[in-house]
Amino acid sequence: MRTTRLIARLDIKGASLIKGINLEGVRKIGDPQEYARAYYGDHIDEIIYMDIVASLYDRSMITDIVSHTADNVFVPITVGGGIRSVDDVSAMLRAGADKLAINSAAIARPELIRDVATQFGSQCMVVSIEAKSMGAGKWQAYTDCGREPTGRDVVEWARQAVDLGAGEILLTSIDQEGTRRGFDLALISAVSSAVTIPVIASGGMGATADLVKAVGAGADAIAMADILHYKRVSLAEIRAGAISAGIRVREV
């Protein structure tokens, strides 16, 4: 039986942890490092930092946040937002990231996926896909927090990313993100069944029951944001709920 990973996703703007709806309309929540450390104390399986305005500003802030977090958080840390080159990847790995989530730069230059996988290993190359429903079982890949359409079909793009050496896919539903209405299950199912690598479902978790449905649809890991940030449900309750639904998670 496979083990489902429970991941805390922290969207960052400057020095702040923020949360939006449909990847827009951001609201400040607090100090990301404090939240990351608290989740580590609660036995989170992984942390994702997503610098949502990285394309607009310089990245020294996120580099600092990652570096300080890595000093006392000993679970995998994924960093996304504004990573454009092998050099950016190298710098972020040195800062303490274990994996990089790349969207825009991979869309613009898919060979970047191969370059990163060849130089640093597939295990650190997470392709981040922002998916918007086009109706009838079709999704289009977007960049820049769901603002820029790419014209690429999500499932096709996911397959191509695997061929190029991606190690995981971070799949965010723009439609569901921040709505607390549950994950886009058809999207998870379509991508997960098309690829041989793990799929992290992101966007829409309102309750533990949503996690159970996402795993049923094929998700290998679940990214959670405001359900944790606003302490609507504790990680212990989520873990217990998953176990009682027959899902194997790390027990502590």
Partner: protein
């Protein structure tokens, strides 16, 4: 300062040969109460108190890097000296004779056995995802009565560790199997040991407090 830590036996030399996130391991060594130094030469390897060999990515790439840096013989000599050695992830796989990842590549031959791809067919008859990315439980093999005296000494059977891999070690001699884990209904080797040599397929530096306990035990070997 280094001299004092040497006396306390808390110094770990991490081989920095261009693969693997050596700084993550160095941070975990600090958190476990030790002091990490990154080393790059055969001379530094022969002078080390305890040696840590990391490694991520493809086996062949890691093995070639070791050879290109001229470190292979120095590592073998260190391993035979009786001083504590720990391989992590591909660093553990390199301890075996050879790997089947992208062709046949020779390893260091410190522990007899091979590295083979994890079959994606589960005991349930279903196809599972490989690479295996995530947490799994460390189980004591039947051939071991306890983990006493090993790097896993402070663990309870069933403690969880973080993995990311597509290939797994297959030691020939079952006495070299230190831990196993369940992969889709089949037990596979996830830690190996032989005298002063230890290897973990999982990442102790990313396995929370369980991983820090392993590193902390290695510090007092």
């Amino acid at each position: 300062m280094l001299g004092r830590f040497k006396e306390l036996g808390l110094l770990v030399s991490i081989i920095d040969y261009g693969v693997g996130n050596v700084l993550s391991i160095a941070r975990a060594v600090s958190a476990a109460g030790g002091r990490a130094v990154l080393i790059k030469t055969a001379q530094e390897i022969s002078g080390a108190d305890r040696l840590l060999l990391p490694g991520v990515g493809a086996f062949g790439h890691c093995a070639n890097n070791l050879r290109r840096h001229g470190l292979e013989q120095a590592i073998k000599d260190f391993a035979h000296s009786g001083r504590p050695f720990l391989g992590i992830c591909v660093g553990m796989q390199l301890m075996l004779d050879e790997s089947a990842e992208f062709g046949r590549h020779p390893g260091l031959g410190l522990i007899p056995g091979r590295v083979e791809r994890i079959p994606n067919l589960g005991a349930d008859g279903l196809i599972h995802k490989v690479p295996y990315v995530g947490w799994n439980q460390l189980l004591r093999p039947k051939s071991r009565h306890s983990w006493q005296g090993t790097v896993l000494e402070k663990l309870r059977e069933g403690d969880w560790a973080y993995f990311t891999h597509s290939y797994a070690a297959m030691p020939i001699d079952e006495s070299h199997i230190l831990s196993e884990s369940d992969y889709f209904g089949f037990r596979r080797t996830t830690a190996i040991s032989r005298d002063n040599l230890y290897g973990c397929q999982f990442h102790p530096e990313k396995s929370g407090s369980v991983g820090l306990e392993i590193i902390s035990r290695f510090l007092t070997m």
